[in-house]
Symmetry: D2
């Protein structure tokens, strides 16, 4: 896994990142990544994975997987079905899709078996330390009180990022830390890296921008 900065753009279920819009946005992300030389990855809705993966050549993550095995689970998201799309990895335990601790364990284990990259989301220093026990590839810390506020965690609460990196690395130095919540500008991104994170997980700051590609270029302009 690269130790250079990484940006993961979570498409959530916004109109601007659904269906044809999602495919177009993915092309913008690829262009911004190529023009800036910064690693950029995307996390579209499950239903949009195939059309996006056939159109772009950047890392694509699933937003979620259910802790199930093949069988009778109508309407659930089967890990094997996600793997078969060609994804690079998956988000796990996003604040909008929280899991039990037993299911987190089971899904991180499943990503290792399937050779997928795991991005385990947490909400504070203590849950990040707990998350480190599962040895995911990334831990993405997003203080829920900042999500959607436009106030970057790197500014509102810089010590939460530093402490998270420190506590996680006490348990496993190989785990990369991402930070999220409120990130949208080049300053936010720069601060996130200076605080010891490897990159950012973000959504509305880019997806809702008038010019999504330019917003991505601005985001990485100071690094």
């Amino acid at each position: 896994m690269s130790k250079t900065p990484i940006i993961i753009l979570n498409y959530k279920t916004y109109t601007e990142s659904t269906g044809k819009n999602a495919v177009q946005l993915s092309k913008y992300v690829q262009e911004a990544s190529e023009e800036s030389g910064i690693n950029m990855a995307i996390a579209p809705q499950a239903v949009d994975l195939y059309p996006i993966i056939s159109e772009v050549d950047i890392p694509v993550y699933s937003q979620h997987m259910d802790a199930i095995t093949p069988g009778g689970h109508t309407g659930s998201t089967l890990p094997e079905a996600i793997k078969e799309t060609g994804v690079t990895g998956t988000l796990i335990n996003h604040s909008e899709q929280r899991l039990t601790i037993a299911d987190i364990d089971s899904i991180v284990e499943k990503t290792k078996e399937m050779e997928l990259t795991s991005v385990l989301c947490t909400n504070n220093v203590k849950t990040s330390a707990a998350a480190a026990s599962f040895n995911p590839d990334y831990i993405a810390i997003e203080p829920p009180e900042l999500i959607g506020t436009g106030i970057p965690v790197s500014q509102a609460n810089p010590e939460i990022v530093e402490n998270t990196v420190e506590e996680i690395h006490k348990i496993n130095k190989e785990i990369n830390v991402l930070c999220g919540a409120g990130i949208s500008t080049g300053e936010d991104m720069k601060a996130a890296l200076e605080l010891g994170s490897q990159g950012v997980l973000l959504a509305s700051g880019i997806i809702k921008a008038d010019d999504q590609k330019q917003a991505l270029l601005d985001l990485v302009s100071l690094i």
Copy 2:
């Protein structure tokens, strides 16, 4: 909507109906439908909708939709995203994905707005009568105690199908009734129609068959 018999094959999350297997199975269903002249539809996982819809020309349903509007709902299934795949309709409230009564109301309403066919699943006569208040296109009654048993509802409990049809039609004669749980043979299918249903919703009896296409042809051989 056709008043001729219909079969909806729920792909659930079986290995035999995921990814490439799902595309192949969909082709078999199309062939069986063309050879028999019987309407056959399929309900694959959300992630597999685009590749299947681009390969076959039969009605395709989603297995589920979440009662959400576009926005921040990481990992959820957005109705608008499902609609954009080109589906004909969606299952709602399958026994493996039960919804609250407020969410059922909201999703049936949404399918009407989006001009999708709604197949609302229920478990007994009383919940079927309640479901009829929402005026879905289809109500699919599946007594949970028979699911996966191989014992067809049409044989184990014929009066539940007859009573369901009767109670639903007291409220709205336009609603078609499907029956499910334990259906796998031509006899089961024939009995289901004789009891007043419009067709069947089924899964493992076909998906797990050695020869899926032949199993479908056998299913409709007596009608």
Copy 3:
């Protein structure tokens, strides 16, 4: 069941209606009921049922029951355990504790077996019609957009109450209708009755009042 007006006070989990406060509030409700001659009932938290029932002589409802039978269900609310406290009945499917349609059916059935009064909560005309199929004793309609606003449903949306009464009575004339959301004054209560409801289900308007007993007396002052 009485056809005279009824008030059910939902204690929710407010500090003012928990533990010793809940016992004291229950005494005020009893006094207000005796002084006004109006039927008043209460719905405290499960944990507070025994101490309240031993202190007052008014109808006491549970806020919820899980659709379970005796067995291994750590942390759940067993219907038989609630029954044994001596309650009169239970709320079902409150907007803060929504249930699947299959569970609503199962719990209403269980209340009939246990000879408890059922108060089934709904959110609009259509879900009320569906709810009527289960033949509960009461249906309490609470438009969620009005809960906690202080804007009474009887004023904001009078036709929702009238239409709910009409649709429910098409299915079963024996079902009593309560209305909730935003009710707090004597005018609200009077309007609720004039629109065809049998009474009200309310919470914060009374519980958060400086003088809870006086608030109850004011509520019934115009009927």
Copy 4:
């Protein structure tokens, strides 16, 4: 907190441990504890806490608390309401009432504020290590595949207990470990202690016994 062995009897929602039966059982537990000199605690349903606490003088735990603060949460279990009953502590994240990692963090924190003893349940070595990051008073490891089998974890999988103790103590030596699942005899209890646990969390093996008090005495007969 005592470093002598402890037994916590989870009443779940069995008929034999509900209502009057729960009060009677609690008296048996107190007698068995006094006669044997071994610490025995109980975890009844929320609804039964007050009547039990007024009758016995042994540590009483709640089975669950919801991660809520006082307010509008009809049907939920408010931590402050449980605290007011006089309980000693609470089970958290039992396998029959799993929580998200964010809620576990929030509830363990709440128990510290309220000076309650926390018993955090886990299912394997890795989730136990994660649980240790929250610094609960006890971690109770119960491999779900053994629950209700009568096959004691101490016999089926002794290394899971040893490894759990070891991993937890790497993070915090103050955390006591309990083991559960399949425990019912004096041999099981003895083995549990020899493997490094501080005691057991158990349910049906005692609750379903013909003579519950004798079953408890047998359980501690070899220590």
